[in-house]
Subunit: 286 residues, 2 copies
Amino acid sequence: MLYLVGLGLSDETDITVKGLEIVKKASRVYLEAYTSILLVDQSVLESYYGRSIIVADREMVESNSDEILRDAQTEDVAFLVVGDPFGATTHTDLVIRARELSIAVQTVPNASILSGIGATGLQLYNFGQTVSMVFFLDNWRPSSFYDRIKENRDIGLHTLVLLDIKVKEQSLENMARGRRVYEPPRYMTVGQCAAQMLEVEEDRKGGVYGPDSLAVGAARVGGREEKFVAGTLRQLCDADEALGPPLHSLVLLGRRGHELERDYAREFAVDKDLWDKIWAGDYGKQ
Amino acid sequence: MLYLVGLGLSDETDITVKGLEIVKKASRVYLEAYTSILLVDQSVLESYYGRSIIVADREMVESNSDEILRDAQTEDVAFLVVGDPFGATTHTDLVIRARELSIAVQTVPNASILSGIGATGLQLYNFGQTVSMVFFLDNWRPSSFYDRIKENRDIGLHTLVLLDIKVKEQSLENMARGRRVYEPPRYMTVGQCAAQMLEVEEDRKGGVYGPDSLAVGAARVGGREEKFVAGTLRQLCDADEALGPPLHSLVLLGRRGHELERDYAREFAVDKDLWDKIWAGDYGKQ
């Protein structure tokens, strides 16, 4: 059996009781470690589970999945995924390969940022499609997120923006020379995301949002130290210190907000008066 | 401290280790039991937790929240919610009341149907806003879901439809006579949902979807006995036997599907050839 086990969002105790039992008895345990991270190290997980974990990087999952699935027709293999196994990134290709090999699959769901973001007080049924934001490079500034946000904003909906993480990346030079040397991990911050969003609006001038649009920055959602900062996109450009360490996410508000949402998120506002003023003008409309 | 603890989607072992520790040590434990249900009885939870649970119905949560919050400034109160605490229904009003009473709040996230539905193979970033479907009555057939689905379909997105549950409902007669006698619980099925959807399309004739639109019916998502049936809305009208007991949900597909989604969900199709044919004509477009 192949078990896809969600680990939740924060630390080693966010695994479900069902998931923990599977991890303890599986023949091999893999940890998918390139689409998201927990807020604790691998060694903490290993000591909590009482066993060793094989870290599965993108290359292994995408090019060497048969090694992960080896003998899973008769043995139990656990594949651990931060958040929910079908959360921000799906692992449907691994399941399709398992089916081809006649391996049974069972999923153990867990918390995902897609529902955890409800802790901002923004109602989940007021969210449109989720988008991703990557680190811009000099010559690569993909802005398809902008079109998606426009679609959401046009019908009044909030947008959850998931922020890029870079783990086990090679520099171009090291890649060219075939050196397996990796850069330190990088996690996009709310400040970086807000700045990139404003840059794209300035470029494309679609009026989809602007420096005075309301948003909520979120850090370490679901963790004991979770933190939210609400304000305009301009304010969120400078909110990284208040938010603290990764992981960060951002929600851009849609106009179709409810007053309960306004009041709940107001608690997190950099400037409550400005929050109220902009809300009164542009939000809370059906 | 007020703890909002998600229980996940299926049985007593879907609670997180962190959540279970909180339940075991809290002064009082409430179970919110009117927006969703687990697939196991209260008695199973009580014996698993080794303690008794107070069932909180809608009336208690909405009109008597101060009793739930009693002494939570100094004691630990656990409020258990099926799924994620901020999932399909939010409990933001309880948190706002706790803030007014200077009670600290901590949330323990868990799996929600909003991410668990990824087990259909449909990619979560291709979903638009989530809608709810209520049991129609002779003189009450709310169809605002139809406008929301139209918004999603217009931009090519899937729609998750959450289905009504009726627990602890009184008949009009019993209500009029003040008798605290309750009807047996009812859970909407995929077949009932599909039929109501087609009825509304026939009424409103907006061409938002039709009998040949593709959808996936889901039952007991996240449980060991989870089950999916994929097909046209017409086919899903008759899928209840195949799907089995509650809870059910339904996803109406958007045209912006990826071939991985087609292939994954095809495994669940009532008629794989028809699935392929309709997909080829109407889906997989950007």
